[in-house]
Amino acid sequence: MNAKSADRSYKRSWKNLLINKRYQLRFTLFMVGLSAVLMVGLGIWVMWVANETTAVSMTSVRGDACPRLPSLHPPAGDPEDRVPAPSMHLEEAPEGAAPRAAPRAAPRTPPTTPPAAPATDEPRHVNVQIDESSMTLTTTLPPDLADRIAAHWTCELRQVATFDRLERGRRRILWAMIATGLALVLGLALYGIKMTHRVAGPLFKVSLYLSKMREGRFDKVYNLRKGDQLVEFYDHFKLAHGGIVTMQQDDIARVAAVIAAADAAGMGPHPAIAELRELMARKEKSIE
């Protein structure tokens, strides 16, 4: 506390909010630290539970299986999903043409056939016999194939969207807590300093008066600012100050009476009276 710059019209200002650093920072940091510890501790707990909840929800979503995508090359055990291969019905070749075409077509077919393709009612590959004139392909795709594909991908996309939503929710909780924590810490720091300033302010003011009193000056004591705390304490100080001023006035009155009587008795020039005059002058100056 600097007791040199006394000013009775002292206004609150951001610059001098921290006038008693030790006291103000101790109380403010305790408040801020406690809130930060609570926010971090409970926040970690919240995030832990939120992660668990997100994982459970994602597992739940995964549990609702989407309709499978119909495959054109289904594995052996899934006859339901099997899409019949396009049935290519060839018009019967004219006699005499087959013996010519067969030797050429036969060696070509094996490489086009998938090695794992199971034997089914319908052939896995189509033997194409080139007719010199025309070829007709007749598809036998199920009529709801497009709907089943659309349903599958709609479901897949819905699941992905749900995962995204869950992940966004989890992140929103995290960011909301970080933002709230930071705002709380900053707000509390400012409020704490301002609140403790209302105690430190009156102490600072009393310190200024104490400094003057130590030097033997008993100036008039002014009131506290509006909103300051320690009003009762300050009232006690004012009474003490008044008591000391009264002491000085009593001394002056007694000494003045002696000086007046000594003057009347013709003992004015006595060295003891000179000393008393000096004492009285000093005391009168101290309460001006």
Partner: protein, 223 residues
């Protein structure tokens, strides 16, 4: 602040006892202490309650999701419904237990925090109380010696300023008493000489008697 010597180390004529902190006078300045205590306690309670609710809400959401899935799984199989109900009741009781745990921890936090804050603020209110009691003595013109603060008290700087001022006042008042006593003795001698010469002065005699009484009083105040 009616009985200053009861809770502080203020000197009394009988004995200067080193006072210990007592539970009964920890709340010396209620408005100052309770304001800070309530602020911090309520703030902590609000943070704990809000985050505690979030924890419970997340847990409950997870439990409900598990319960829903289990219900869907066991819907077709009546033999497993009992298992589903058992799991649901376990999850619900776990969630209830979480509430009780959080309430207990929150309550404990508030109690411990309040107790700690009472002690912490007492370390500020104590010195203020002690200085206030000295102020009351000063208002009566009493300038007895000042004893130091207890260990752990805050506002040591402020108390240092006060003590320095008090000692300065005391030293100055003592010096004034010495000056007045010396003047009194010299003037008594001079008055005696004048009386011996047959010129006694009644008013000077009365003024000196009054000063003598005043000095004696002041000495008592400085004791």
């Amino acid at each position: 602040m009616s009985d200053p010597t009861a809770a502080t180390g203020l000197p009394t004529p009988a004995a200067r006892v080193k006072h210990q902190r007592k539970l009964s006078n920890y709340l010396l300045d209620k408005s100052l202490q309770l304001r800070y205590i309530l602020l911090v306690t309520i703030l902590s309670a609000v943070i704990s309650a809000a985050l505690g609710y979030m924890i419970y809400d997340q847990r409950r959401t997870a439990s409900e999701s598990i319960e829903r899935d289990l219900q869907a799984l066991t819907q077709a199989d009546s033999s497993r419904q009992e298992f589903e109900q058992h799991v649901a009741s376990v999850l619900e009781s776990d969630d209830q237990a979480l509430i009780y745990k959080m309430v207990a921890v929150g309550f404990g936090l508030v109690v411990i925090l309040s107790a700690y804050l009472v002690i912490m603020t007492h370390k500020v209110a104590g010195p203020l109380f002690k200085v206030s009691s000295y102020f009351e003595h000063m208002a009566d013109g009493r300038l007895g010696p000042v004893t130091p603060l207890r260990r752990g008290d805050m506002l040591q700087d402020f108390f240092g300023d006060f003590k320095s001022m008090h000692e300065s006042l005391r030293a100055r008042a003592s010096a004034d008493v010495v000056v007045m006593e010396r003047a009194l003795a010299a003037l008594r001698t001079a008055e005696g000489d004048a009386a011996a010469r047959g010129k006694p002065d009644q008013s000077l005699d009365e003024a000196l008697a009054a000063l003598d009484h005043h000095v004696a009083n002041r000495k008592k105040q400085l004791a």
